[in-house]
Point group: C2
Chain length 423, copies 2
């Protein structure tokens, strides 16, 4: 059992005061919580890549469930996003059908009909009402969906209680590894399980412009609590990763709760509220880090923490801008400790900054102290970058707010993947 | 004589109604206007690269001049920016001393003293008052300036009337070609000349995070007119290029006018106001295109025009976001016509967009018409990208506003330059 301790809003990796014991379930995923089933099929939508892989999947609860969702803020969104938004407001959904290979985006009214058709077929295949089924598509933008293939795929799927790993594979695009996790938390003698899967670290294969993060739990959750928890957790996890700054037309994060673990509905006054919230947050942050680490062509996970900001929004903007800076990314790629780039990125983030108060660390080494370079040797700083994970910390000296963001280095493989791989 | 025709605010390259005859001066630059001198020295500040190159330069007018300046909006700026801001407000300056190799940024109070020292020495060397001399530095951030080398360089410079080409070389960092141009315009029987040089297409060599654009003219200009003209022209030129979205700590655009051509001071009511403004704009846009074309590792200039926007700010945001999108850049790199990426970038720009009204062209070919893909063959679209210059046009269908931005493709050479080239 791996015990992950952290306080709310702090970094998972800092290992601060242990508030809750989380039990991570090895090999777990979206079907680890009670009452969840999933399955996948190879439909032939995703025609690139070396071999046939699953490209259509269904995730569904055996019983009615609540759902909360957050979606891409891009002004152009795919047909599935429009479809889901209209349904998630009701808070009632218990399944999702997802495909990779085609994002069903910029596809006009035909795209809307295709999204609805996918939901209809998947609902029928799963034995649930059509309004309980959501839709997610990731892949090329601006091409009409090959519905004959998708339909044949959907009707061949038989969701099972151990199908989470198959479903995860069906939503992968250029992800090099599947990303799925599960964790258990106990409160008041009752055990709740949270599972999750994620795909697509930022912009992935050409036009596979999507981050999906689907979380499931068997806890019974009051809808308002579920929605607020997802909003807050999304802002601490998926919304703090940046692989190449191109926000997608299809980004989707969903949190389903089916109550199969039993007990009273959990709201802010319920004793399990804190532990469950922390489990959801830990899972989402772990998946976000998995996504950043698997960014296209990435060799190094970059974790940027900004402290001492005047406002929380300043801390968030600064941390995100540093992780998304091509110059910071290539600095890490080349293990070339020009940490002035970090201050430059903070400077253009829009966050309030007074350079004579700002300090920058890489790992344990301080490179700039209150606006002037320290005498730490360049070679020492560069060596600190030669790792699978690089931690950069900026202290702004202007307040008490902090935020952490994750990104990855930028390598020649990113260019190869995005330029040379013709769809 | 090359006649460049355009109407105010439109693209140079569209060759619309010819309003003014501009005579481009072949091989011209900052010393082409009357009364301007320049020179450069190799001081050894810029130690990277294959061979010794000029790295300190002085540009100075033989007579008093007016100046307008716009500077980086980055919250962290170099000592020279602080120095210049305090002096440009007076509108009186007639020279600039510039170096490459070290940006004198994040260098604390020592940096402020070094900037002042450079101005003092260069003023003395040029025989002008210290308060008439500005300073510009580009290069590594966060290292104290090697003032012994810089000082030795400055005192060895002898500005001459044909020294513009040397000065241009002194401000180059990873620029592969020097960028300098000059043009003449005649109004009321009097000829005015405008010259200019620019360096550093966005982020260049590691930490060479700077765009400089210095313009000189021998026209006599009323200060308010000069300032407004620079603001407007900057917004149509240097502010519309993006090589890798990292705005610099040292970006500087200056417009000097020494009046050596004679005549009454030019303000908005002067008959030469229109022609001179158009000459300055044409020169600045030509230099901006030169910068974008010479972006690190770039093979292709990308020109993005957004039309039919609801507001001017929307048009500008959308055009800039498309040119700065890594996915659009790599699409051009790979000649892979996934033009949905253009709509995705417009969508996240913050501009108002209704996808069902939006159309996208590449060259003469329409790829998306009112939100749906056209049946133009993929191979045709990709072939249209196989050029030294790719023009993308987006029609938003929401209004009358338009803007043009320039960028370049993103190649593996960008990564090599920024990661593998250790300072």
């Amino acid at each position: 059992m791996f015990v992950l301790g952290y306080t709310r809003g702090s970094m998972v990796s800092e290992g601060r005061a242990v508030a809750v014991e989380l039990e991570w379930v090895e090999g777990g995923g979206v079907t680890t919580p009670l009452g969840w089933r999933a399955g996948a099929a190879y439909a032939g939508v995703r025609t690139y890549g070396e071999e046939p892989r699953y490209d259509v999947g269904i995730l569904v609860s055996e019983q009615p469930a609540s759902v909360a969702g957050i979606f891409s803020r891009n002004g152009v969104v795919g047909a599935p996003i429009k479809y889901n938004r209209a349904r998630v407001v009701t808070g009632r959904a218990r399944g999702i059908v997802a495909n990779s290979g085609n994002a069903n985006t910029v596809t006009g009214e035909q795209g809307d009909r295709d999204a609805a058709r996918m939901a209809e077929l998947a609902a029928r295949q799963s034995g649930i009402e059509v309004q309980e089924m959501l839709v997610a598509s990731t892949g090329v933008i601006g091409r009409i969906m090959p519905m004959d293939k998708i339909e044949a795929g959907i009707v061949s799927i038989e969701p099972t209680a151990d199908g989470g790993a198959l479903f995860t594979r069906a939503i992968m695009t250029t992800d090099t590894v599947p990303k799925h996790r599960a964790a258990r938390v106990t409160s008041g003698g009752r055990t709740y399980t949270v599972g999750g899967t994620a795909k697509g670290s930022g912009m992935v294969h050409p036009d596979m412009a999507t981050v999906f993060c689907f979380l499931t739990t068997d806890a019974p959750c009051e809808l308002g609590w579920l929605q607020q928890t997802l909003r807050e957790v999304g802002d601490l996890s998926i919304n703090m990763i940046d692989v190449d700054m191109d926000s997608s037309t299809s980004d989707t994060m969903l949190l389903f709760a089916n109550g199969a673990a039993g007990g009273e509905p959990i709201d802010a006054t319920h004793p399990a509220s804190g532990p469950l919230r922390e489990a959801i947050e830990a899972l989402a942050i772990a998946l976000a880090r998995d996504l950043a680490r698997d960014g296209e062509g990435a060799r190094t996970l970059i974790e940027v923490t900004v402290e001492g900001a005047a406002t929380r929004e300043d801390a968030r903007k600064a941390a995100r801008t540093v992780t998304s800076s091509p110059l910071v990314k290539t600095m890490v790629t080349g293990r070339d400790a020009n940490l002035g780039r970090v201050l430059m990125a903070v400077g253009r983030s829009g966050a309030r900054v007074e350079v004579e108060r700002a300090s920058v660390w890489i790992g344990p080494y301080c490179a700039f102290e209150r606006g002037v370079p320290t005498d730490v040797d360049y070679a020492v700083l560069s060596k600190a970058m030669d790792a699978e994970e690089v931690k950069i910390r900026v202290e702004l000296g202007l307040g008490e707010e902090r935020a952490t963001a994750w990104g990855c280095d930028l390598t020649e493989d990113y260019i190869r993947i995005n330029a040379d791989y013709t769809t």
